[in-house]
Amino acid sequence: MTALLLRDLKLSIRAGGGALIGVLFFMTVVAVIPFGVGPDLNLLSRIGPAIVWIGALLAALLGLDRLFQTEREDGSLDLLLMQEHPLVLVVLVKCLAHWLANVLPLVIASPLLGLFMNMDEVAIGAVMLTLLVGSPALTFIGAVGAAVAVTLPRGGLLVSILVLPLCVPVLIFGVSASYAAVEDPAPFLPPFLILTAITMFFAVLGPVGAALALRNAGD
């Protein structure tokens, strides 16, 4: 399992820029928003957490369709299916590797983008914390989509369509927790705990669903 984790990490970092592409996409998305809404700093700081969250969501979805597809193309997916470790665990480890390589850099980059958005320190910290807790859920949900669309030649767009609706709760609670940290009357903890619960829930459901889909996708 550790070997698989290391292998996936190395593969995703060494293959063509890997994680940096995701971060670059994230920054581009967030940097484009001010052109759309205008350079009003007050407005930007008010919608900042939401924008950073949406940017992270899109960037996290970007590489997801490749999660199992490269394995399928070079045949190692069949080896993963046939070995004696439970497939659910294998999927879980692959999700973790994907998260570490592609999504964690986004979380690390988010404070910088928070500065772009004229957010104060508390808001930046809250967004980073909620992203750290909530983004694994995105990866786990995305794993189901990636597994479902693994045999499709052009599954990338379809994966996003399938996965985005399921990501809505994560987005809602992530953003509301970030706002709760800034605005006084709303308490921070309840939405944050719900976000944690969503991540835990999908950490179980996601790998199980993805494993089921992978078994059924084989020819």
């Binding site: 949900i141 189901v144 597994a147 479902v148 669309a149 369509i161 609706p165 399921l166 669903g209």
Partner: protein, 252 residues
């Protein structure tokens, strides 16, 4: 004993010919009953008094509420069929959830559109980002995603199994829709018919509403059985075509 009998009856349906025979027997009755109930329901809906506050717009409810119920029931039927596909490999379950997806999308769209038409005079806006509305919209997107996934794959049995997984994962949305009005206090009113302690809605409105709900449910089952029948026929035709093409290739 009765349960095992039910199971044998159910697995008998795995034979498409038996299902087609059963469908041919049931369908006329079902469609006649649906038409009758719709006639009664619509008559009741238009003959009852309008609400003292809402006036005639309250009649939108008789379409909106059953359609919204049906949009959730259809997803539940699909989830059951998905379990049937993955656990028992029931061939009819494949066809069933594939046929139900467009129906569910249609009912969800009806609920959204009528809700929007009702919202304009009552709330003063076509659309708000209320928890119930948003989660139903997400349901609509999920139906479309499932249809797209089914379309994207050539092999029907594999498409059925893979979309069954997706349907089961997406089922988490159904309780969210059901309880969204209780968890978040936003614009959409909480449940007033199916609740502990009896309905809070007046009998005057309840009667047509229930008749319409039954009529919509029967309409769903009629259309669903028809869609399953069409899908079986479509598959038979394509198999026959393939066989004919093979024969032609051999002769030529």
């Amino acid at each position: 004993m009765t349960e095992s009998l039910a199971i044998t009856k159910f697995s008998d349906l795995a034979n498409p010919t038996r299902f087609l025979a059963l469908a041919a027997r049931i369908l006329p009755w079902l469609s006649a009953l649906t038409t009758l109930l719709f006639a009664v329901g619509l008559y009741l809906a238009f003959s009852t008094e309008g609400d003292y506050q809402q006036g005639d717009t309250v009649r939108i409810m008789y379409v909106h509420v059953p359609a919204a119920w049906l949009s959730m029931m259809c997803y539940s039927v699909m989830a059951l069929s998905a379990i049937g596909t993955l656990v028992w490999r029931h061939p009819l379950a494949d066809v069933s959830h594939k046929a139900a997806a467009p129906l569910g999308a249609a009912f969800t769209l009806i609920a959204l559109v009528t809700g929007s038409l009702w919202g304009k005079p009552m709330w003063g806006t076509w659309w708000v980002w209320d928890a119930r509305l948003t989660s139903v919209f997400v349901l609509f997107l999920m139906y479309l995603g499932i249809i797209a996934l089914n379309r994207a794959m050539d092999d029907p049995s594999r498409a059925a199994r893979v979309s069954a997984v997706l349907i089961l994962v997406g089922f988490v949305n159904i309780p969210i829709i059901k309880f969204s009005v209780d968890w978040w206090n936003t614009l959409h009113q909480p449940a007033s018919v199916i609740r502990l302690g009896g309905p809070t809605i007046d009998g005057e409105f309840l009667r047509p509403l229930l008749v319409m709900a039954v009529a919509f449910t029967l309409l769903f089952f009629t259309l669903h059985i028809m869609a399953i029948r069409n899908e079986i026929w479509r598959r038979r035709v394509s198999t026959q075509r393939r066989m004919a093409a093979r024969l032609a290739g051999r002769e030529g």
